[in-house]
């Protein structure tokens, strides 16, 4: 139908181009063409446009009758113009209806888009609250772990404090817990461990085996009597012997270090007998590995 109209229109244009030679289109055909052309552009639900078109076809009938009766009637130009106006009006009403249809489609699209946005917002909210609760749980776990380690450390400290005696001094400084063992626990000038020392070290090993977070740095120290080289060798040997004993007690070697410091780290005055006795010692510096990581 559309193709037919286009062809008819083309024929009309062609006929108008050669109007001088070709017979002109009748007013009835002109009216019919205009109405048929308007009809092709109407959306299916363009009720008012179709009603207008029906009126236009009514006008076409009237034109046909008048034209058939008298093709030179004065009424014809007005009727043709009316016919064209019906076609124009129907076309305009159809265009408006098409716009209304587009508006309705866009409202549907908007509603769908907004539903999607709401769904996405909910997903964002869920993702965020999930992260917040994960983070909160992580914080709680860290705190619990920290509290546990602190409790464990205090417990270990209590047990180590219990070792406090005339021959073992327990102190605490920035490096950690320090157990200072008097040289009375060693044979004079030798690195061999005495029985009392081994008993104390066994207790320390027991504590270390329970509290796995502790590492031990064993430091041998001497006073300033004797040669520096001798003191260095003696302090190193004593430290190593203590370390070997702890390893024998089941403490992992990786948790232990031994070094001889000789007379380099005095804690008391070497000019007095008491001071020199204090300087002759083996220190066990117990550090918390978990604190080091932080």
């Amino acid at each position: 139908m559309k193709t037919k109209n286009i062809l008819t229109l083309s024929a009309l244009v062609a006929s108008m181009s050669f109007a001088a030679d070709a017979p002109s289109i009748s007013p009835v055909d002109h009216c019919k063409l205009a109405l048929d052309n308007a009809k092709t552009t109407l959306p299916a639900n363009a009720i008012s446009a179709r009603s207008t078109l029906a009126e236009g076809y009514g006008a076409l009938n009237q034109l046909e009758m008048v034209y058939a009766d008298d093709d030179d009637s004065d009424l014809i130009p007005t009727l043709v113009e009316n016919c064209s106006k019906y076609a124009e009006l129907a076309k305009l009403q159809g265009e408006t209806q098409a716009l209304r249809n587009h508006i309705a489609e866009n409202w549907d699209k908007r509603a769908a888009t907004n539903r999607t946005i709401e769904a996405i917002q909910e997903q964002i909210g869920a993702a965020r609250s999930g992260k917040v609760s994960d983070l909160e749980a992580e914080k709680q776990a860290i705190k619990a772990q920290k509290d546990k380690l602190e409790a464990s450390k205090n417990e270990a400290m209590d047990k180590l404090n219990a070792l406090q005696s005339q021959m073992i001094q327990v102190t605490k400084d920035a490096r950690g817990i320090i157990l200072s063992m008097s040289d009375i626990l060693f044979d004079v000038g030798r690195a061999t461990l005495k029985t009392d020392l081994m008993t104390s070290l066994a207790k320390i090993a027991g504590i270390l085996s329970v509290y796995q977070q502790f590492d031990v740095s064993i430091e041998g120290n001497t006073d300033n009597t004797g040669s520096e080289e001798f003191n260095m060798t003696l302090s190193q040997q004593r430290a190593e012997n203590v370390m070997n004993f702890l390893v024998e007690q089941g403490i992992a070697e990786t948790r232990l270090t031994a070094k001889g410091l000789g007379m380099t780290m005095p804690i008391a005055d070497n000019s007095t007998k008491e001071g020199r006795q204090k300087n002759r010692r083996v220190d066990l510096v117990i550090t918390d590995r978990t604190q080091k990581v932080k």
């Binding site: 009424l75 305009l92 716009l99 996405i120």
Partner: protein, 128 residues
Amino acid sequence: MKAKIFACSISLALVALTGCSSSQTAVNRSLGQAEATRILASENTNLDSKLTASANSKLDAARALKEDGKTEEAQAMAEQGELELRLAIAKSENESVKNEDKKLQEALNADEERKALYQSILDKETKK
């Protein structure tokens, strides 16, 4: 015979009068309808003034034709005047709907942009 001629004359006169009366009714109806449309159009201030002026002059012409007894011409002219008023109303309505369509399209585009933005936020949140 005279009686027959008289009867026929009366019949013809009645037919002519009836035809004339129905034409007058049709013209009056067309003018009345056009007048109603004009009142309707006057409520809309956004109508094409050229078109309404043309319509009004055609309605005046229709009335003049009616006065001259040219009923068919008067009816056609009244119809044309009314059609021009309807065209003016339809054009105004078309403009209004076009504006509504344009604004809604812009709102929809904004919604689509918002959707894309939220989607990108969601993608970032779930990627982590």
